[in-house]
């Protein structure tokens, strides 16, 4: 199987533990852009935000502090993914508040038909359970962030978090079921 760009990139940078974001930008830009594209459905892409714009926005948010130093080779991606998550959630809130006219609110999991739920609904749903999940299952929460908001594959997550792919699979399956359960509990 062909290794993704990201994996190559990670490999390439793994020998230099501390590097500045300026150096990293050109290297990860394409990959970040791919991640961004994955976050946007066809219909979304037509509208408000182009993937490139999303990347720029993520980058800007990352660099409130201009000379941030990254602690290790994955630190950057974790922060990047978290930033992406924030952008996606903000955007979904804005749009759903426009749609529902009732202020930004999470939809009720029991009310919606998951097969037909919009990407915005999904983002808001998963996001609303993620902090709770982190308290119970921090590893699972990280896998959800990387996979759901970051779009990384099991293999990439495994590599980043230094566990086997099989473990990632299990963490992912458990975390998904937990998120769903937490959402059901939140409904009550």
């Amino acid at each position: 199987m062909e290794a993704s760009n990201l994996t190559l990139l990670l490999n390439a940078r793994s020998d230099s533990p501390a590097c500045s974001s300026d150096e990293l930008l050109p290297l990860v830009y394409d990959e970040l852009r791919r991640m961004a594209a994955e976050r946007m459905s066809d219909e979304l892409r037509e509208r408000t935000l182009q993937p490139t714009a999303l990347v720029h926005e993520a980058w800007l948010r990352l660099h409130r502090g201009r000379h941030q130093q990254w602690n290790d080779r994955f630190h950057f991606f974790r922060v990047a993914v978290r930033t992406m998550r924030r952008i996606l959630v903000d955007r979904a809130r804005q749009r759903s508040s426009l749609r529902h006219c009732e202020g930004a609110g999470r939809v009720n999991i029991a009310d919606i038909d998951l097969a037909a739920a919009t990407p915005d609904d999904r983002v808001l749903l998963v996001n609303s359970a993620l902090d709770e999940l982190r308290k119970l299952d921090p590893e699972g929460a990280r896998v959800v962030e990387l996979k759901f908001f970051g779009g990384f594959s099991n293999k990439e997550v495994a590599w980043m978090t230094k566990v086997s792919e099989r473990t990632v699979e299990r963490q992912w399956a458990y975390a998904k079921a937990m998120v769903y359960q937490l959402l059901e509990e939140l409904d009550r």
Binding site: E38, A116, R122, F148, S153, R170, Y174, K176, A177, Y180
Partner: protein, 733 residues
């Protein structure tokens, strides 16, 4: 120490349980691993149960960027895609679920409406139920009905239905916006009734008729109604889980629901349940409100809803209209383009009684079909008196002489006679010394009463069975009807329109399958009962006898046939209708007839002959004339006037009206006449022609129900009977 769940362990158990696809294996695994730890076991079970929905929630496909394969999941498949339908936008939300505008991609690209059922019901059963009705649904083709095209299950396991897309406005909304007057509203409503009637004729009951299921579009300025959601209420109702708690769930809106539907669900609902809902829609359409109070259903328990719906009694539209709040009444009058007073008077004239008849709690008192409701409205619009009008004596009679009265009366009588008998017996016991003679006489009376009671009860049961069989037949479920009727002694059945329908349908169903004993059983019962109750001298009655004669002969019941034709000449011997005479002659002479039968048919024969002399040669009478010639020829043959027979039959076969079945019978009879005259070659030629036609019919009719060849099935049976007689005759010579 650690009170929280052991994540590592749970994660492992979940993953391993998920790998076991077999439910039993999974249970065994969990039994072993969680032995003694009920909390853990319960947590894993909950996680397992959440997995499918969780996957649907996380399925990344909603985001998948086209082109680049998604790294985190299955690429390419879009969640807004259900089967071969792509969801485009949400267009509505109803009691059942959400409705989407969707695009069908195969086999043709078109836009459809896709409805996802909301309630957690047994998807497999919903779909099975839909599949069962799919054929009948497919047969429904009506400009005022939106077709249901498909059904299936979404990934999350909910049933969905695909319908023809109708871009219309809800019935009441449309009428109000257009400010349609009462007459225009009624014209539109009649169209709706016609659509419902069409579906009923195909055996489909809607079960959820309400204004939001009747959409109106405009075509060339004409409002066109479209009834949507056919088959959905029924499919979902049947799939309700069996246990009581879940069965309590309520499908559809109680606002328009008939009492019997609320009581029994769809199981015993019939076309008259739809008539009730139509009545409720009619009232709302005219009077701007429903004919009974409708509380906020959401606050009520299913059981409360059920009992409210069963107990409510409809008010008349004019009462409903008059009791509107002043504001609402003003608005309603404005929307109907009429003054409140005039509208109220209009409603009082005919609409009150029409709506109330449709809304009767006892379904036997309702219109028996949507068409009857529409016809009554039409009569009112045309200025005639509708049948529902209380001044109509027929209405009053019908109201009193209903089917249920018979068993009730019978039961009351039986109880009285039984009690009387019992008293008498006690009296006798105390005064044992009384004369033996008297005792015997009285005991005899008691026995009689008891026998009478039993007969009455059996009649009532038979009546009930026939009524249920009639309902089955109206849905096209003939085999189930037959199962109910099997073993029932038909002379217990009181003649009625219902019983005629059941006998005729079952008789023909058996005849088509070649089960002639059963066919004869039903068809002769029908012929006897109808000739007994309907004393009219009309071919409507006599038309029922020919199939019976055919079936009796084909089943080989010659004694039955003799009895039957004696009955026929008695009943119809003095007919004044040539059509009746001609049918009776044919029915009685399918076998050589003894002198007394021939004599009894003399009057009929001269009637037919006279009619044939004076008949004009116009186009309609060509067919009738040909049939007359056939019956005259057959009669002459049976009388022994073979030359005359051949003349008439030849005349018949030369008719411009072509009917292969008749021709076949003619040739078979000619074969016999020619044989009697000693013209063997001629006779063979005729017989061969008859047999060829029969052969052709059998081939044609073999795999299909429709044949290119003309003629009723019983005509062909009669042909076979006559041809067999001819061939036996020639073998004998």
């Amino acid at each position: 120490m650690n009170n929280g769940p052991d994540i590592q362990l749970e994660r492992r158990l979940l993953a391993e349980a998920l790998e076991l696809e077999d439910a039993n294996a999974r249970n065994a695994y969990l039994d072993r691993m969680c032995a003694g730890r009920d909390t853990l076991r319960a947590r894993i079970e909950r996680l397992l149960a959440a997995t499918a929905r969780a996957d649907a929630l996380f399925s990344p496909t909603g985001y998948s960027a086209s082109g680049s394969a998604s790294a985190s999941g299955d690429p390419g498949e879009c969640l807004t895609q259900i089967g071969r339908y792509k969801l485009l936008e949400r267009i509505g939300e109803g009691g059942h679920g959400m409705v989407y505008l969707a695009e069908q991609q195969q086999p043709v690209k078109r836009q459809v409406a896709l409805k996802i059922i909301r309630l957690g019901m047994d998807t497999a059963r919903v779909i099975a139920r839909f599949e069962a009705e799919r054929q009948s649904l497919a047969m429904m083709e009506h400009p005022y009905i939106a077709q249901v095209l498909d059904a299936g299950a979404t990934e999350s396991g909910r049933p969905f239905f695909v319908m023809e897309l109708v871009r219309g406005e809800k019935l009441c909304q449309f009428c109000d916006r257009k400010r349609l007057g009462a007459r225009e509203r009624l014209e539109l409503f009649i169209k709706v009734c016609r659509a419902i009637q069409h579906a009923h004729q195909k055996g489909i009951i809607h079960c959820d008729i309400k204004p939001s299921n009747i959409l109106v579009t405009e075509l060339d300025g004409q409002p066109i109604p479209k009834v949507i959601d056919f088959g959905i209420a029924r499919a979902t109702d049947y799939a309700q889980p069996g246990n009581d708690a879940e069965r309590g769930m309520f499908i559809g809106s109680p606002d328009y629901m008939s009492p019997e539907y609320a009581r029994d669900g769809g199981t015993y609902a019939d076309t008259r349940s739809d008539v009730f809902s139509l009545g409720a829609v009619l009232c709302e359409l005219l009077a701007a409100a429903l004919p009974y109070e409708c509380p906020n259903w959401a606050n009520l328990e299913p059981e409360q809803i059920r009992s409210l719906v069963q107990r409510r009694v409809a008010s008349s539209p004019s009462e409903v209209f008059r009791s509107l709040e002043p504001d609402a009444m003003n608005r309603a009058s404005f929307c109907r383009n009429v003054s409140a007073l005039a509208h109220s008077r209009f409603l009082q004239r005919d609409m009150d009684c029409i709506a109330l008849k449709a809304l009767a709690t006892d379904r036997d008192l309702r219109y028996d079909s949507a068409a009857a409701l529409a016809d009554d409205i039409r009569r009112s619009l045309d200025g005639a008196v509708p049948s529902a009008h209380p001044s109509d004596s027929l209405y009053r009679m019908r109201k009193f002489v209903t089917r249920n009265r018979v068993p009730v009366l019978a039961a009351a009588l039986a109880v009285c006679s039984l009690t009387a008998g019992l008293c008498v017996a006690m009296h006798l016991y105390v005064r044992e010394q009384q004369a033996l003679k008297e005792q015997i006489a009285l005991r005899h009376e008691t026995d009689l009463a008891r026998a009478n009671e039993s007969l009455m009860r059996r009649r009532a049961e038979a009546g009930e069975l026939v009524a249920r069989a009639a309902v089955k037949i109206s849905y096209g479920k003939v085999a189930e009807a037959e199962e109910m009727m099997t073993g029932l002694s038909l002379d217990l059945v009181q003649p009625s329109l219902e019983s005629s329908l059941v006998f005729r349908s079952l008789g023909e169903w058996h005849a088509m399958a070649g089960r002639w004993d059963e066919a004869a059983h039903y068809l002769s019962a029908l012929a006897y009962s109808i000739t007994a109750i309907d004393e009219n001298d009309t071919n409507v009655v006599s038309g029922q006898v020919l199939p019976a004669a055919s079936a009796l002969l084909e089943s080989g019941d010659f004694d039955g046939y003799e009895r039957f034709r004696r009955h026929l000449v008695e009943r119809f011997g003095g007919t004044k209708q040539s059509l009746v005479a001609e049918q009776v002659i044919k029915s009685c002479l399918l076998r050589p007839a003894p002198a007394h039968i021939l004599t009894a048919l003399d009057a009929s024969f001269s009637l037919v002959s006279k009619e044939e002399m004076v008949s004009s040669g116009d186009y309609h009478s060509v067919e009738l004339s040909a049939w007359r010639a056939f019956s005259i020829g057959l009669m002459e043959h049976r009388r022994g006037n073979y030359k005359e027979a051949l003349d008439w039959l030849e005349k018949c076969s030369a008719s411009k009206d072509i009917n292969e079945a008749r021709l076949c019978g003619v040739r078979a009879t000619m074969a016999m006449a020619a044989a009697r005259l000693g013209n063997r070659a001629e006779a063979y030629a005729y017989l061969t022609e008859a047999e060829n036609l029969l052969q052709q019919f059998r081939l044609e009719a073999g795999g299909r129900t429709e044949s290119k060849l003309r003629g009723n099935w019983f005509d062909w049976v009669n042909d076979a009977v006559l041809a067999r007689e001819a061939s036996r005759m020639m073998d004998a010579r």
